[in-house]
């Protein structure tokens, strides 16, 4: 142990003495480790962001849209979900404590005084803010009576409120939705943007009855329903049950595809991770190549160094160093350098991540995991690429080495 310590100290001494070699190895390893660290952190960031969004979406919630997968891809949603479906779901799924219908209309003109704006109108029940965990911040929610009575009331999103009202308090004011006057009863709290760039705070929520009757002239179909369950752990059983339940209700034959789409938290994670996945894969390959190049730089410089220091090896062998001592010294040099390179790489990654986040709004999350992976990889490079030169040094014959 004591001997190992003394030999490690010799490694440190040589790292200090052969500064040029140290610097080159350090830089190349640092670059490789930095890119890998950024990738690990970006992957973690993507997952974290996904789970954050799922948390907001509701880990116990499902969203069912009308229209199958193909219809969804073209951006067209068929209306296939009926108010009767919603009642039936309420009746049949006991642990569904909230089943809320929703219908939406895009690019509807709203105006207040002389200000006009195109926005999204969502029709729902008084459970909307609860089912989305989206509290009303100012004023109050609309009520069951508002829904029953087809009243012209609405909740407004923060962004739209700012656009239409500026500094004015929107609560109690009346806006025009197309031609219909609607009284704002409350303002929703801020929700931000989705990863795909949708402004969630740009919307008006109104009683679904009002919208269906007065804006859509519709009595049967809605766009979607959202369901929250008491027992989150069974959520994926409910996905399957919901699918067969709705297929049966819609009288779909076995070979027919679903005419609805069920979105669960799992789908959201999949989608978000796929979004960053391609970038991560590209960076991953780049980072791995950078690290391998770093390894070869290290191996080459160390082979040169072993040749240059043949005499040193001879002297050490003559004064009693065993093969193992020489191996440990040279391997120690490479591992210490790559460890240092790994640490520099981690710092570099922190800087690079800041840059990435500021230009691309890329979610990056640094944790001990990124640090440990970087450190392990730098050791792997140090041992993997340092072993061959160290072995060559250790296996030099003393008499050959001392001749130089």
């Amino acid at each position: 142990m004591h001997r190992l310590l003394k030999i490690t100290f010799q490694s440190i001494h040589a790292i200090w003495a052969f500064k040029l070699r140290t610097v080159f190895c350090l830089i190349s390893v640092a670059l490789g480790i930095a890119s890998i660290t950024v990738i690990v952190a970006a992957t973690e960031g993507a997952y974290q962001k996904a789970f954050e969004i799922v948390g907001r979406f509701g880990p116990d919630a499902l969203l069912v849209f009308g229209g199958g997968e193909e219809a969804r891809a073209t951006g067209q949603r068929q209306k296939t979900i009926t108010l009767d479906d919603i009642d039936a779901v309420k009746q049949s799924f006991y642990s569904a404590y909230l089943v809320v219908p929703m219908t939406s209309m895009r690019d509807i003109q709203v105006s207040y005084k002389d200000k006009k704006y195109q926005t999204l109108i969502v029709g729902s029940t008084s459970d909307y803010s609860q089912v989305w965990t989206w509290p009303v911040m100012q004023g109050s929610d609309f009520t069951g009576e508002d829904v029953k009575g087809l009243r012209n009331v609405g909740l407004i999103g923060q962004f739209l409120a700012a656009e239409l009202f500026g500094d004015e308090d929107p609560v109690g004011k009346t806006i025009l939705v197309r031609r219909i006057p609607v009284q704002i009863v409350g303002v929703l709290s801020e929700r931000g943007t989705t990863p795909t760039g949708n402004r969630l705070d740009d919307r008006v929520i109104m009683p679904i009855t009002t919208i269906m009757r007065k804006l859509q002239n519709e009595t049967k179909y809605v766009s979607a329903m959202r369901i929250r369950f008491l027992d989150q752990q069974n959520l994926y059983t409910y996905v399957d049950e919901m699918r067969s339940f709705l297929r049966k209700r819609h009288r779909l034959h076995q070979e027919e595809p679903d005419d609805f789409t069920i979105i669960s938290p799992r789908e959201i994670v999949k989608f978000l991770v796929a979004l960053t996945g391609s970038l991560v894969a590209f960076l991953g390959v780049t980072g791995l190549i950078a690290l391998i190049v770093a390894g070869f730089v290290l191996a080459n410089l160390f082979l040169l160094s072993v040749r240059e220091r043949t005499k040193e090896i001879g002297i050490r062998r003559a004064t009693g160093a065993k093969k193992r001592d020489i191996l440990i010294q040279f391997l120690g040099e490479s591992v210490l350098i790559t460890t240092l390179g790994g640490l520099c790489g981690f710092l570099l990654a922190l800087v690079a991540a800041r840059l990435l986040m500021s230009i691309a709004q890329f979610p990056i999350h640094f944790s001990w995991k990124a640090f440990v992976i970087g450190l392990l990889l730098s050791w792997a490079v140090g041992i993997g690429f340092g072993l061959q030169p160290a072995n060559r040094a250790a296996n030099l014959k003393p008499i050959e080495a001392i001749k130089g």
Binding site: H2, R3, K6, I7, Q10, H13, A14, A17, F18, K311, E312, G314, I315, R316, R317, A318, T319, G320, A321, K322, K323, R324, D325, K397, P398, I399, I402
Partner: protein, 222 residues
């Protein structure tokens, strides 16, 4: 028992298909406390003989006893231990580590001792004082003259209290005045009880030794 006993030592090098016998049956005894010069021209086999005496190389055949141990059959690791404990080398080209200080160079043999700290630094400083380099302790070898570098090498050779000081043309790179100083130093070490073997082609150097052995074409000339 003599310190070194070489009995019919032969060394053959294979160069492709040709085998060259460099040592052809060496018989040699060196007693404890002796000062022996091994003289020979280049190509006589004196360097090969030194490598074998110094346990840097092993003979092809024959028996070599050093400090009551049979060397011929030892493993590489065991040879390292023997070199570390029993032999101090002084080379023609000094062979110091250029990036380490004088003190660190002298400490080199102590790195490969398994014993715990034995206050090696104090001992190394003491040795440097003995060879007259107390002031140069923090210097690096390139800052020293040739004579000073060889003194550092001698101090390093003495670090682990070896039984045998094995020197190969110790004055080969030095001017005649410095050469005298270095040989006086080696003679002093011998008077203090060290066994010294000096390998040289120079009769003036061999004259310091108590006994001179001549080697020619791989055999000892009587």
């Amino acid at each position: 028992m003599p310190l070194c006993l070489l009995d019919d030592i032969r060394k053959t090098y294979k160069m492709g298909d040709v085998a060259i016998e460099v040592l052809r049956g060496i018989h040699l005894q060196v007693e404890q406390g002796e000062f022996v010069a091994i003289m020979g021209t280049s190509g006589s086999g004196k360097t090969t003989l030194m490598n074998i005496i110094g346990c840097l190389d092993v003979a092809t055949s024959g028996r070599y006893m050093l400090a009551d141990r049979e060397i011929s059959r030892l493993s590489d690791d065991e040879l390292s231990v023997i070199r570390n404990e029993h032999i101090g080398f002084v080379f023609q080209n000094f062979y110091l580590l250029p990036y380490a200080t004088v003190l660190e160079n002298v400490l080199l043999p102590s790195l490969y001792i398994d014993k715990r700290r034995d206050n090696f630094e104090q001992k190394a400083a003491g040795l440097l004082q003995t060879v007259g380099l107390k002031e140069r302790i923090k210097f690096k070898p390139p800052q020293l003259s040739g004579g000073e570098q060889q003194r550092v090498a001698i101090a390093r050779a003495l670090m682990n209290d070896p039984d045998l000081l094995l020197t190969d043309e110790p004055t080969g790179q030095l001017d005649s005045k410095t050469a005298v100083e270095i040989m006086d130093l080696l003679a002093q070490m011998n008077r203090d009880g060290k066994t010294v073997i000096v390998i040289t082609h120079d009769p003036n150097i061999a004259a310091y030794a108590g006994r001179t052995v001549r080697i020619q074409d791989g055999v000892i000339m009587q």
